[in-house]
């Protein structure tokens, strides 16, 4: 199996502080992966690099079958190539309806002129409705998304990600601030999504990670400390030392 995303030897520092230190990471085309690690271990910076927000000082990030170099592309181009990102705090467009949010995310032409003359097709409507069904917001389609609950906003954002039809989903702390039932729904959504694409979940909550039931990568001080099943990493003495607590 060849990797969908291959990060190798990446380092980046801010004001002398090494946020990422010779990090290497791979993920296949249909895989669920959890990334854990203490605060400041470089989880968010890792996502910033893959999505083009931060340029690393050295290393390479290769993408897809043709091994495109993501470091040479703009954020918008990377997103178009199939990398979707969910932020820590739910960022949906609060003064627009759920429908408009989803429609905007739908995989379609992205140029200003194409969008200006865009006509909604029946197929697009159907896709938006199907997505809304999947994220449990089918009856909320025409509500302003700012009125949704915190958990609903999280799902809407996941829905927007799915609408982009990305090949790689980067999800930052999806369970933060959710109730137990909401967490379970989120786990299902992510596991379902990972059947057809790569999903990387950054999470703090170990219970949540355990429920995802996937391979875990532990980051520490900007590089990979351990990798393997949840039981494997939670028994790793180094991981216990720096993260889980002794």
């Amino acid at each position: 199996m060849s990797a969908l995303l291959e990060v190798s030897g990446v380092s980046v520092s801010f004001d002398g502080f090494k946020a990422i230190n010779n990090l290497s990471f791979q993920i296949g085309p249909a895989e669920l992966r959890a990334v854990i690690g203490p605060n400041g271990a470089g989880k968010t910076t890792f996502m910033d690099i893959v999505t083009g927000k931060t340029r690393p000082d050295e290393g390479s990030v290769l993408w897809g079958e043709k091994s495109q170099n993501l470091l040479k592309m703009s954020e918008a181009r990377i997103a178009q190539a199939g990398v979707g990102r969910k932020f820590q705090r739910p960022t949906v467009f609060e003064d627009q309806s759920v429908f408009d949010n989803l429609l905007m995310a739908l995989k379609n032409e992205r140029g200003p002129l194409e969008v200006l003359f865009y006509k909604r097709s029946r197929a697009d409507d159907a896709r938006v409705e199907a997505l809304a069904e999947e994220i449990g917001l089918a009856d909320q389609l025409h509500r302003t998304s700012g009125e949704l609950s915190h958990g609903q906003k999280q799902w809407l954002e996941i829905g927007m990600l799915l609408a982009q039809e990305p090949r790689l989903l980067l999800v930052d702390e999806p369970a933060a601030g959710m109730t137990l039932a909401e967490r379970e729904h989120t786990t299902d959504l992510l596991r379902e999504a990972a059947k057809t694409r790569a999903v990387v979940v950054v999470e703090h909550d170990m219970e949540f990670v355990r429920r995802l039931g996937c391979k875990v990568t532990v980051l520490h001080e900007g590089s990979v400390l351990a990798e393997g099943s949840i039981d494997h990493v939670t028994q790793d003495p180094q991981v216990i030392e720096v993260y889980l607590g002794r």
């Binding site: 609950s149 915190h150 933060a176 607590g245 002794r246």
Partner: protein, 231 residues
């Protein structure tokens, strides 16, 4: 000394804390434990006034605390060492310490030798910029800075996070010293179990924003506490 009753807290609509009743006494370390994301940091924010509680009561030395701005609480003797330390990066170590003078009358505005005795490294680094210090040094600076104002309540949020073991030991000794001195109540939020267990006199374990277990060290076995915070 510190007493909260039915304290709740919200972040833009979502509730983080549910009816927290807790207490802390002078000369004791009160340890708040729990896995990530259960609201420990939010609790400290409510106690330090950086994020106001949405309900419940909060008393210090019997004085009911309304919802004063953070600086007013600091002047009442609440010192806060936040997670991530929040050193002023462009100011020197000395200047960082001096920010605490705001709580003191003019004649008491000097850095007591005790601070440098507790953290000799701060003396060495006195003229360096806070942002240039290593994580461990920054943590020591953050605690030292909090002590300048001679607080009666010291709030510590994850002081060992990302710190090398020898400095952790040193920080542990400082906390013990401050406890035994008996001038202040210490509330410690900590993930590092052995460290926290070793220092604690009282435990409050949080699960999803509510207290799931509490009691003194004598009343709880180590296994009980550990089981309550493990994954």
């Amino acid at each position: 000394m510190l007493q909260t009753k039915d304290l709740t807290l919200h972040y833009s609509g979502s509730q983080i804390l549910y009816g927290i009743d807790m207490a802390a006494e002078r000369g004791q370390v009160t340890c708040v434990m729990g896995t990530n994301g259960v609201g420990k940091t939010s609790l400290l924010k409510a106690l330090s006034g950086t994020h106001h509680r949405s309900g419940g009561s909060y008393t210090l030395d019997g004085e009911a605390i309304a919802k004063p701005p953070a600086h007013a609480l600091a002047r009442k003797g609440v010192a806060y060492v936040p997670q991530g330390r929040d050193i002023f990066p462009l100011m020197t170590v000395r200047e960082n310490l001096e920010t605490g003078f705001a709580c003191l009358p003019r004649e008491e505005r000097f850095v007591p030798e005790q601070i440098f005795e507790l953290f000799p490294v701060l003396k060495e680094m006195e003229g360096r910029r806070g942002g240039d210090l290593s994580g461990g040094q920054q943590q020591q600076l953050a605690i030292g800075r909090a002590l300048i104002a001679q607080p009666k309540l010291l709030l510590l949020d994850e002081p060992t996070e990302g710190i090398q073991p020898n400095i952790i030991q040193q920080i542990g000794r400082v906390i013990e010293y401050l406890r035994d001195e008996g001038k202040m109540a210490i509330v410690l939020v900590e993930q590092y179990f052995e460290f926290a267990y070793g220092l604690a006199d009282e435990f409050f374990v949080l699960t999803r924003g509510a207290v799931s277990l509490s009691g003194s060290k004598a009343s709880l076995t180590k296994e009980e506490v550990m089981a309550s915070v493990s994954v």
